[in-house]
């Protein structure tokens, strides 16, 4: 049943052997030493400062959507950095390995990377940037912001939320493990068939790639369900569909895509596993397999995934523009329709990733026209942002700069996207670096929107603003890098340079590759600027403290609660009266009105089970990669047993009493009044809510005890 492997295997360790550790690799070995030393240093520091208990109680076992979101974003930023380093390696190799006379070191023919190693680097770069940087960053923001924006106390399934995070973390750990144990796939982040078949990739690299993707798909699906149900079921009273903040709409459309498309990825990879482990013939060239079937299944997911990451970014931009234009978003309904139009059309276009497959003109025409349709709602969005600024009062804060950068990149990405949508043009630039430049333009829209959002929502989560000077410096450096890397890349596309070359045979391309290398240096400077930004902001945190309405011109519901957001979000559920509730209350002078009385609230308990299951999924992925069958079985059984035990115990949660709430609220208001004059005198008021039918079917087994954890994520700064 199982396929014969080239190379050794033993029942205890599977394919794992000492020779699988690349200790003789001149790049990986020093890196490994550095990582181990760094790890030891971190562990020592945590122990020295006695923070293990804090880490365990407040972060590792938490089910608080804000802390989980922060951890998602940390994973995203760390992996963004790793992906960036991979990008730097790719650029350096290409700048170096030009022409037959270019030198080679470390046993490489040209440049400093052997062909197979270079393949691994760009595969890791692509996979990490899409699924371990963009996705966690956006999921993190949705996690933090959506429940607050709809006035919910937490996500619909707090435990599932933690599970999603830890499974994502397991995926990240698995791809990091591939650096030092064995190797990674060399076949591109989306994988070509049949190059990932065991005959053409006999090592464990493809298995790492496959199981990493499976874990990430699982984690994201769980997160998607959670967000959808949260948005449908957990909105505060008065939060009607057409009062939803636009970011919530964007999250809704994005998560519909996630929920519907990720199964296709799981199937595609599952079938690859069947081929590699069971000797099936899904994607082999011979014996009735069909290699393009893989490409098809992958892009059924892959294309919607692109919109899954870009729609929340659009939502972020739609939140930032109005706040710094000091007026409502132009064409709210149109924006909602456009989001759903993009989500819908995303299911009709996947073949444009393989126009050159040769399926014939009818198929290509259909998918070409469908692809161009995406341009319509996207164009509408761009116009609406422009008209949001029209007749406004624009402040060019750092967050606004990042959002504007995203807008201009989107214009360039849209222009080049419309070129790629036409097969007659696509045949010339498909698989060239022009495509690379195009989708980096689009994905950088996300990066720009994310950095804008980091600056925009940072004070909400942590209670103090990031330093404007360094945020702007980082923006300009980053933009300099973007221009220097991607303008030459577009040019190289027009020169016919194809993608994934580890040896560049045409010396005419060399000057441009050197300019791109310069761009990478500028990017590196912006990374340093980001570290300085964090350092300076945390140093000056007391000076930069903010009140509830951090920007003074904010619009949606999250700006009504305290900064940092307390673990219960809103002490009393707000009643929503307007589309831009915070702006409405501010305009009517009732922004400072506090609830007249407090009532007990019910919160979920922390649990370590999600962390354990996440760790076990890592073990499972690792065991499957190395074909350690006993360990696969053991970890799978352990996961199922843990799930059953957790389900048997359940989580009754705990009660925060009205008195405790009142005390915490008083403290928060007092703290805010120190820093924020606009908070005004706390006034008690608002009409009592009456005439609403009581909600039934809350839990039947509520606890009596009350053990609230500390305040929000920012409490310890």
């Amino acid at each position: 049943m199982l396929v014969d492997l080239p190379g050794g295997w033993n029942p205890l360790l599977g394919r794992l052997a000492w020779s699988q550790i690349p200790y003789d690799n001149p790049i990986l070995a020093p890196l490994f030493v550095a990582v181990v030393l760094g790890g030891i240093a971190i562990v020592a520091l945590i122990t020295y400062y006695g923070k293990w208990g804090y880490l365990w109680k407040e972060w590792l076992t938490t089910v608080d959507h804000k802390k989980l979101g922060v951890m998602y974003i940390i994973i995203g930023l760390v992996m963004l950095f790793r992906g960036f380093v991979d990008g730097m390696m790719i650029r350096t190799q290409q700048a170096w390995a030009v022409g037959p006379d270019s030198s080679g070191v470390f046993g490489a023919l040209h440049g400093y990377l052997t062909p197979f190693h270079y393949g691994q680097v760009y595969t890791a770069h692509g996979l990490i940037m899409i699924l371990l940087a963009a996705t966690p960053l956006l999921v993190g923001f949705m996690n933090i912001i959506v429940p607050i924006q709809i006035g919910a106390r937490d996500m619909a399934y707090p435990y599932l939320n933690a599970l999603g995070l830890w499974i994502t973390a397991a995926g990240a750990a698995l791809i990091m493990a591939s650096l030092f144990i064995g190797n990674f796939a060399h076949n591109g982040w989306f994988g070509y068939a049949p190059i990932f078949e065991i005959q053409y990739s006999p090592g464990v690299g493809v298995d790492y790639w496959m199981w990493t993707l499976q874990l990430l798909a699982l984690g994201t699906t769980l997160g998607g369900i959670n967000l959808l149900v949260t948005i449908i079921k957990m909105r505060a009273p008065g939060m009607t569909w057409f009062r939803l903040p636009i970011f919530v709409w964007a999250s809704l459309s994005a998560n519909i895509i996630a929920l519907t498309s990720f199964p296709a990825l799981q199937v595609a990879l599952g079938l690859v596993a069947a081929d590699r482990y069971l000797g099936a013939h899904f994607f082999t060239a011979g014996l009735g397999g069909n290699l393009m079937l893989y490409t098809n299944l992958f892009w059924i997911w892959g294309h919607p995934e692109v919109y899954f990451v870009i729609l929340p970014a659009f939502g972020m931009m739609s939140e930032i523009f109005p706040v710094f234009s000091e007026k409502p978003l132009f064409g709210y309904i149109t924006m909602v329709l456009a989001s759903f139009a993009i989500a819908g059309v995303s299911w009709l276009v996947w073949l444009h990733h393989f126009f050159t497959m040769g399926a014939g003109p009818d198929v290509n025409s259909f998918f070409s026209v469908a692809t161009m349709l995406v341009g319509i709602p996207t164009g509408v969005k761009v116009f609406n942002w422009a008209f949001t600024m029209y007749r406004g009062r624009l402040t060019f804060t750092a967050a606004m700069l990042w959002a504007l950068g995203a807008l201009f990149l989107l214009l360039i990405g849209g222009l080049t996207g419309m070129m790629l949508a036409i097969p007659a043009i696509n045949y010339m630039v498909h698989n060239s670096v022009f495509v690379i430049a195009h989708f980096h333009s689009m994905l950088l829209v996300i990066v720009y929107a994310v950095f804008g959002s980091v600056i925009f929502w940072f004070p909400k989560v942590f209670g103090f603003k990031l330093d404007e000077f360094w945020a702007k410096t980082m923006f300009w450096l980053f933009t300099g890098g973007t221009v220097l890397v991607f303008v030459p890349m577009y040019m190289l596309g027009f020169m016919g340079m194809t993608r994934r070359l580890d040896y560049v045979f045409n010396t005419n391309w060399h000057p441009y590759l050197l300019v791109m290398e310069g761009g990478i240096v500028v990017y590196t400077l912006s990374v340093f600027a980001f570290f300085v930004l964090l350092y300076v902001s945390i140093r000056d945190r007391v000076k930069n403290r903010v009140g509830a309405d951090a920007w003074g011109t904010s619009r949606s519901l999250e700006w009504l609660t305290h900064s940092p957001v307390p673990f219960y979000n809103f002490a009393v559920t707000p009643h929503v009266n307007a589309r831009d509730e915070a702006a409405w209350r501010r305009a009517n002078g009732i922004a400072a009105v506090q609830p007249a009385k407090y009532v007990d609230i019910h919160m979920p308990n922390n649990t370590p089970v999600a962390l354990y299951i996440g760790a076990l999924t890592f073990v499972l992925g690792f065991a499957l990669t190395w074909r350690i069958w006993w360990l696969c079985l053991a970890s799978l059984v352990a996961i199922i047993v843990l799930m059953i035990v957790r389900s048997y115990r359940g989580d009754p949660g705990y009660i925060v009493t009205a008195a405790e709430l009142e005390r915490m609220e008083r403290e928060a208001i007092a703290r805010e009044r120190q820093v924020d004059g606009s908070a005004g005198e706390p006034v008690v008021g608002g009409a009592p809510a009456v005439g609403r039918p009581a909600m039934a079917y809350e839990r039947s087994d509520l606890p009596k005890t009350s053990t609230p954890p500390s305040m929000g994520p920012g409490a310890h700064h």
Binding site: W347, A359, V363, V599, D600, A694
Partner: protein, 127 residues
């Protein structure tokens, strides 16, 4: 959730999950109808196919119709997909998914029939 608000829960207080509408909508007659309809249709399909009672294309059509009716019956009777207040979101999400199922299978089938047509010419030695 406040202990003080038990009083507001009225007759169907939150302490009793059995009274939840999603429990209450179980219906023996519905399940039995679903079972009967789909079993009968499967029986007909199996009989027709195993006895080759009709020309292949007509047969395909007939058993496809059997499958369709049987699925609709099961979705209605077993999964309780209707437009009642408690199921409306289930219905909405199912309706949102069905076009995607159709697109995934339909477009894939179309694109590969075109691909096979062009890239796999009948060759000597092929079956």
């Amino acid at each position: 959730m406040s202990q003080a608000h038990h009083g507001h829960q009225g007759g169907h207080g939150h302490a009793d999950p059995i009274l939840h509408p999603e429990v209450q909508m179980s219906s023996g007659r519905g399940y039995f109808s679903g079972f009967l309809i789909s079993t009968l249709l499967m029986l007909i399909a199996t009989f027709l196919v195993s006895s080759h009672a009709a020309p292949p294309f007509g047969l395909l059509l007939v058993i496809t119709v059997c499958a369709g009716i049987s699925i609709i019956a099961q979705i209605y009777f077993l999964l309780h997909i209707d437009i009642s207040e408690h199921n409306i979101w289930n219905t909405v999400s199912l309706v949102a998914f069905i076009p995607l199922f159709v697109l995934t299978i339909g477009l894939t089938w179309w694109m590969f029939s075109q691909l096979y047509l062009r890239t796999m010419p009948p060759m000597p030695g092929m079956h």
